[in-house]
């Protein structure tokens, strides 16, 4: 595994990041206009706010999902992180290195070795065989043909497409192309992988396959991942933490159960209303304070257990169960607490 860089500290540190599209973005950000809502700013100056004052940290090895509807600025955000789009203001640090202050050479080096990206429309080169596509990143950083072929072949095996390496991209289905997109991103052995809606163009079954593939690869190679999506269920499935964006601003950052259990505002609540809550929420969100009715020999459940997984135990036991965290009793749940979650979601469905 490759978390070699100065152990502690976040993998990615983003602070006060802004992007205002238009010729005079850097002037507007210093004026009072920057505080105007998106629409008014556009009417007044013709400039569009892409990202407004965004800050967050991503821990090493974390899967960090950025979620929002189209136009919310999530694709802009991921491009600002490697300066595929130049930020108007703010700071991005990758393992303590300030990307926003880098000169062109250092930036190229970062893109070649530390960050890789997977794109919605794959971005494979149509005139090269997929194996040469995978090796492209190694080629631009000047590795020899033999070495990069070997490495690329390893990656082909890793994503489970051995035998297809001599195809051209347009001979493959979208799902396979995107597996090769993944392989290309992994080939450079980067510290951070960025995904820009990688599965939006795929049909639902393939999408599920690919999500599982990402989970598997994450387990195997343990990279830090920044994952952009507009699909909440994808976000909940993959994310350790989720950042929800609207109009270029952060609405909420939290673990999946926090986002569903304690939506920051109506926007997020509306978003999460159709989520099967029992699949996401942990007991923490449904338990009551201990009131002395719990039996000492009642089954013990953990507070971070998903409701669905705990349901069987609670329903089988007659009376409230104990919910503990680190051996301490933190709450109790009974049949009704469980059913409330399950029934509520039946009603909304």
């Amino acid at each position: 595994m490759t978390q070699t860089q100065n152990g502690s500290g976040p993998a990615l540190h983003v602070e006060g990041l802004w992007k205002i599209f238009g010729p005079n973005g850097d002037k507007i950000i210093k004026s009072a206009d920057a505080q105007l809502p998106r629409k008014e700013l556009q009417e007044k100056t013709g400039h569009v706010v892409g990202i407004r004052d965004v800050s967050f940290d991503v821990a090493p090895g974390e899967v960090f999902v950025v979620m929002g509807l189209s136009g919310s600025g999530k694709s802009t955000l991921v491009r600002l992180l490697t300066r595929l789009i130049e930020p108007t203001a703010g700071k991005v640090e990758l393992y303590g290195e300030d990307i926003t202050a880098m000169n062109d050479k250092a930036l190229l080096e970062t893109r070649r070795t530390k960050v890789s990206m997977v794109f919605q429309h794959f971005g494979l080169l149509p005139h090269r065989k997929v194996i040469d596509n995978i090796a492209f990143g190694l080629e631009v950083r000047g590795e020899g043909r033999g070495a990069r072929r070997n490495r690329a072949q390893e990656m082909v095996d890793l994503v489970g497409l051995s035998g297809y390496e001599n195809n051209y991209p347009d001979q493959l289905s979208g799902g396979k192309q995107q597996r090769f997109g993944l392989a290309r991103a992994l080939a450079a052995d980067p510290e951070v992988l960025m995904f820009d809606e990688p599965f939006s163009a795929l049909d639902p079954l393939i999408r599920r396959d690919m999500q599982n593939e990402v989970i598997r690869l994450h387990k195997e190679v343990g990279k830090t991942m920044v994952f952009i999506t507009h699909d909440l269920s994808e976000a909940l499935k993959l994310g350790d933490r989720i950042l929800i964006m609207r109009d270029g601003e952060i609405v909420q950052i939290g673990a999946p159960d926090e986002v569903v259990g304690a939506p920051a505002d109506d926007y997020v609540r509306d978003f999460t209303s159709e989520v099967p809550k029992s699949h996401v929420l942990t007991l923490k969100w449904v338990m009551r304070d201990p009131d002395g009715t719990e039996a000492t020999d009642a089954p013990v459940l953990q507070a971070d257990q998903i409701v669905r997984d705990a349901a069987r135990v609670v329903l089988d036991y007659d009376g409230p169960c104990r919910v503990e965290r680190g051996g301490d009793l933190v709450g109790i749940v009974d049949d009704e607490d469980i059913l409330r979650v399950v029934v509520a979601e039946e009603a909304s469905a």
């Binding site: 893109r111 794109f119 494979l124 080629e139 631009v140 489970g160 001979q171 799902g175």
Partner: protein
């Protein structure tokens, strides 16, 4: 990083692992091998069996062609075809030409002046342009016509304009129905398309001699040549316009019970109208460029003036009518373009992306303006209602008629007055302008000749001479073999077969050696053209601002008739091969540059971004991503570049380019060489077809 074997992919999907069926062609190695063998044979056999022929020497074939010419001249008048059909057409053309000429530019006996004097012509043209193309085009027309008059070129300008517009009219009469028919009958289209291909592959210069044989020399021949040359673009674009009416619209019309005739008149033609007007624009520009070159078959107008200036190496004398031609080109282009923008009633024109369509067979004369610009841009809300416009035009007709009447009865309004003694205007008189231009040239040429001479010498010594020696000094059979092997390697057996046939034709004309010299010049000029096109085109494709600044210049260059390019080239580089090459580059580079730029721009932005995210430098981006992905556009640009270059290199024969072009030219000027000139035309056509086929096959093969 540990690599764990992945579980098998669960995918019920179609595609199979690919067992590399692509034969590795090793094109590069094969070409290198051909070159090595060629060099060895060249070293051993240089100068033998080169089939060289002195300028005044002729072969039996040339004599036979002369005899054919003699027969036509002696007995043609009695022959039903030459005298009857062609003679009838020629008489008709001549009659119409002379009729209009008497109307606007020469004395109409017994009157010493034309029926309508210059003021009347200007007034009529103003009115007509205003009605069809709006105010801006009108101002340009007025300015241009007055400029023709002031420079003392009224009569030749009118002659060129008459030939151009009369030819365009004939093109419309013939071309529209043919285009419509081709759009509606696939079989007709399949039959005529190859003919159009051949016509457009043929350099304009080659048309001249055979047409002179058929129509005699003079105005009739000029009209006939111009029609033949300007017809293909109009037919093609008409067919394309009708075919690009959406299938769903046609279906909807059918479902309402429209007959074929109703469908054509009420749906297809109105929807294709704007495209057709663009076709007329293309046709007009082609017509003007040919009407100028028709000088060589004694076509009247500005062309002969340019030519005599060139032949006397008097740049100023050639430049004044040359500038008049440029002005006329701009005037005609802007007027027809403005007219086409007016005809648009929202959409109607299918968005056509250049390269794809061109490869599909619609090889347009030049990349049309509407392929690159926003199609809806020209639309403005009219300030007047239709009725208001009609009455305005009717009212405006009164002063026009007054002007016509005045110009009939006032000498100074009938014949353009000589301005050489008028204050201010005297500086614009033709002779005085020519003198100024010569003074300027005399100052400029020594000022830049360290650069121009160095360029000329370097290209001649390092590229032109060695290559010419290699091609022209090799024994003919070595050269023939090399070309066949080359065609086979880059394009497969089809172009190889075409190459064999074309070589047979070239050999048959007896002009093998001269053909190889022309081929050398074509290759060198194409290489340099592609160099220019790559540098500028890549910059344009990568940077929108460069594109916005550069493209109007390219558009302007493309409007200029090729013959005119010879004037500045001659001024800078003097008489010789290099002048022809420079003119050819200037002529071919705009289209090639545009194609390269569009190809680079067409590379998928996702791919570019992905490569950027992988850390590609700008150079890696160009060489590893953008150029390879734009390969098809590059090959197409080369193909177009080759044809443009060939047609210009040949015309350059008249300013010392030598070889085939000069032989064609000698065919006009020296009676005994007519047959040889005709043969040279055939050889040029064969070279053009050969190069075109090789380039096309290469494009198709390297399509990925």
């Amino acid at each position: 990083m540990s690599v764990v074997a992945a579980p098998p992919v669960v995918s019920s999907k179609e595609e199979q692992p690919y067992v590399d069926p692509e034969r590795n062609r090793h094109t590069g190695y094969k070409l290198l091998a051909i070159l090595m063998v060629w060099l060895v044979l060249w070293l051993a056999l240089r100068g033998h069996q080169t089939r060289e022929l002195g300028l005044q020497d002729k072969t039996g074939f040339h004599d036979w062609l002369n005899e054919v010419r003699d027969w036509v001249q002696l007995h043609g008048a009695d022959n039903w075809f030459f005298g009857g059909v062609l003679g009838g057409i020629a008489d008709f053309f001549n009659a119409v030409f002379e009729f209009i000429q008497k109307l606007v530019s020469v004395g109409a006996f017994p009157r010493p002046v034309p029926e309508i004097g210059w003021l009347g012509v200007v007034a009529l043209a103003t009115w007509a342009t205003y009605a069809a193309a709006g105010l801006r085009a009108t101002l340009l027309v007025v300015f241009s016509l007055l400029a023709f008059g002031v420079t003392g070129l009224w009569s030749p300008s009118m002659d060129t304009l008459i030939i151009t517009l009369f030819s365009v009219l004939l093109c419309i009469i013939v071309g529209l129905p043919v285009g419509v028919l081709m759009a509606r009958r696939d079989r007709v289209s399949a039959a005529i398309t190859p003919l159009l291909d051949a016509m457009q592959t043929m350099p304009s210069f080659v048309y001249l001699l055979p047409m002179a044989l058929f129509f005699g020399i003079g105005a009739a021949c000029a009209v006939a040549i111009t029609v033949v040359y300007a017809l293909p673009p109009l037919i093609r674009i008409t067919e394309h316009g009708i075919r690009s009416v959406p299938e769903t619209t046609v279906e909807a019309a059918r479902s309402m019970g429209m007959t074929q005739r109703q469908l054509l008149w009420q749906v297809q033609l109105p929807m294709a109208r704007r495209t057709i007007v663009v076709g007329i624009n293309q046709s007009t520009m082609a017509a003007l460029s040919m009407a100028v070159i028709a000088a060589f078959v004694a076509g009247p107008g500005l062309g002969p003036l340019v030519n005599s200036g060139l032949q006397n190496q008097n740049v100023g004398v050639a430049a004044v009518p040359g500038l008049a031609i440029v002005l006329m080109a701009i005037m005609l282009d802007r007027t027809t373009t403005a007219a086409s923008e007016r005809t648009s009633k929202g959409g109607g024109i299918a968005s056509v992306s250049g390269p794809g369509v061109m490869l599909a067979g619609v090889v347009l004369e030049r990349l049309p303006r509407w392929a690159t610009e926003d199609a809806g841009k020209g639309e403005k809300r009219p300030r007047l209602t239709a009725a208001g416009r009609s009455s305005l035009l009717a009212v405006l007709l009164i002063p026009v008629l007054v002007a016509v009447w005045l110009s009939r009865y006032t000498l100074s309004l009938a014949e353009f007055p000589d301005v050489s003694n008028t204050p201010v205007l005297k500086y614009l008189d033709g002779a005085s302008l020519a003198q100024d231009i010569n003074d300027f040239t005399d100052w400029l040429v020594p000022a830049v000749d360290t650069f121009t001479l160095a360029l000329k010498d370097d290209v001649s010594n390092w590229l032109l001479n060695p290559l010419q020696s290699l091609l022209a000094d090799s024994p003919w059979w070595v050269m023939a073999g090399v070309l066949i092997a080359f065609a086979w390697t880059v394009g497969g057996w089809r172009p190889a077969v075409v190459t064999v046939l074309c070589e047979a034709v070239i050999f048959g004309t007896g002009l093998w050696n001269d053909s190889m010299v022309t081929l050398t010049m074509t290759i060198v000029a194409t290489l340099l053209t592609m160099l220019v096109a790559l540098v500028i085109g890549v910059a344009m494709g990568r940077n929108r601002r460069v594109d916005v600044i550069t493209r109007p210049f390219l558009d302007a260059f493309q409007t200029i008739p090729p013959f005119v390019y010879l004037v500045p080239a001659l001024a800078l580089f003097g008489v010789g091969r290099f002048t022809a090459i420079v003119a050819a580059i200037a002529y071919a580079a705009p289209i090639a540059t545009k194609l390269v730029a569009d190809g680079i721009r067409g590379v998928s932005p996702t791919t570019v971004e992905a490569a950027r995210a992988s850390g590609s430098t700008a150079w890696q981006m160009i060489t590893k991503v953008q150029l390879p992905m734009a390969r098809q556009a590059l090959v197409l640009a080369t193909n177009q570049g080759l044809l443009y270059v060939l047609s210009m290199v040949v015309i350059g024969g008249t300013v010392g380019g030598g070889s085939l072009g000069y032989i064609v030219y000698s065919g006009f000027t020296q009676d005994p060489l007519f047959g040889k000139g005709l043969a040279a035309g055939i050889a040029i056509t064969a070279i053009g077809i050969m190069l075109d086929r090789i380039a096309r096959s290469a494009a198709a093969r390297h399509g990925r």
